[in-house]
């Protein structure tokens, strides 16, 4: 099977180049990651990330024939030859298919992706009704592979300011959590013009998500919540004015 793989070693190469490989695969090689490991046996200078090999860790996300995805869950039989592999776009390349995800995780951290609850911890766990728990479906499954964020043009053009689909979906995951008490704070955190509203519903994120999640819908729900919050603030502000007048 033929492959064309992006190669760049900043210690040696002045600029990136594409290297062709023609690999004989075994019957057991079903997924793209299997082929990549076969290539790595032939050329151990090829760098890539991988870990779980079953679409759970999100390490081996890369650009596969022009579309972001996970090598470990991409079937070789679905790919056209030569298979063109590049690092995920929009992030600095460390080496070959490995990108620097610092920016991605800075945005992720900026939405405070953890439960904020100031009540005293209960003896056992914080309980949820089955209905409230169901609200987290389609949100908590994100594996932070970065495929969505790095396929988003709004992120390419505004990487320092736009949180990106993955970060925003995690922001909504905690907004939607009945145990969380920081909805207002979370919404205020996204008010700066570029943090949330740079999303223009291009929906590349939905197209590429290897877990079939819908970050675009989560972003739309945050915008709805922001609208509701603004309306509530207006009511509160009016009440304060009324009290003063009396």
């Amino acid at each position: 099977m033929k492959f064309s793989i992006y190669r760049f070693n900043p210690d040696v190469d002045k600029k990136p180049y594409m290297q062709d490989y023609d690999v004989v695969l075994e019957d057991s090689d079903q997924m793209l990651l299997d082929a990549l490991l076969r290539i790595k046996d032939l050329d151990d200078s090829l760098s890539l990330r991988k870990s779980c090999r079953e679409g759970v860790c999100g390490s081996d996300s890369m650009n596969i024939n022009g579309k972001n995805g996970l090598a470990c869950v991409t079937k070789l039989s679905d790919l056209e030859e030569p298979v063109v592999l590049r690092p995920m776009p929009g992030l600095p390349v460390i080496r070959d298919l490995v990108v620097d995800m610092t920016q991605f995780f800075e945005h992720y951290n900026s939405v405070k992706p953890y439960l904020i609850n100031n009540d005293a911890p209960p003896e056992a766990e914080r309980l949820q009704s089955p209905e409230d728990r169901a609200k987290l479906d389609g949100l908590y499954e994100c594996i932070l592979c970065g495929a969505c964020t790095t396929s988003c043009p709004s992120f390419w053009w505004n990487p320092e300011t736009f949180v990106g689909p993955a970060g925003l979906m995690q922001a909504y995951r905690f907004m939607a959590d009945s145990r969380d008490q920081a909805l207002d704070e979370r919404l205020e955190n996204l008010e700066a013009p570029d943090r949330l509203y740079r999303c223009h519903n291009i929906m590349n994120c939905v197209d590429v998500c290897p877990k079939k999640l819908n970050p675009s819908l989560a972003i739309a729900k945050i915008k709805d919540l922001k609208f509701e919050q603004a309306r509530e603030h207006k009511v509160i502000a009016k009440k304060k004015i009324e009290i003063k007048a009396i």
């Binding site: 709004s154 505004n158 008010e191 700066a192 509203y197 915008k223 609208f227 603004a230």
Partner: protein
């Protein structure tokens, strides 16, 4: 009520909401324009002049134009923000855009309101 939300307190939501409000106005006007053309079927220049004669329709057309200008401003500003990283070039382009949109608004005001 919605107008009160278009304040500096919500810098992010302001543009987003404004874009949707203006889109709504343009959508309503477009349907109205289509229905009006279907009913009145103006086929001559004189008929078109007559078509735009009622005051309410001229005000509606002017509102459509204002909405289009605001919508275009927000949209093109985003495009420039994405694709023109050089601040001086971007600022120059935005200034040209503002002048152009104001000229169009003045022209539309003269057409529809004078």
């Amino acid at each position: 009520m919605v107008i009160e939300l278009l304040t500096k307190r919500y810098p992010g939501m302001r543009a987003w909401l404004m874009q949707r409000l203006t889109a709504l106005i343009m959508a309503v006007y477009s349907v109205m324009l289509f229905l009006r053309i279907c009913v009145l079927q103006p086929d001559t220049y004189a008929a078109f002049l007559e078509f735009f004669q009622p005051t309410w329709f001229r005000i509606a057309s002017w509102l459509f134009w204002i909405s289009l200008s605001i919508h275009a401003w927000l949209g093109i500003r985003d495009v420039f923000k994405d694709y023109v990283p050089n601040m001086q070039v971007r600022s120059g382009l935005l200034k040209i855009l503002v002048v152009l949109l104001w000229v169009y608004i003045a022209w539309a005001s003269w057409l529809f309101l004078m």
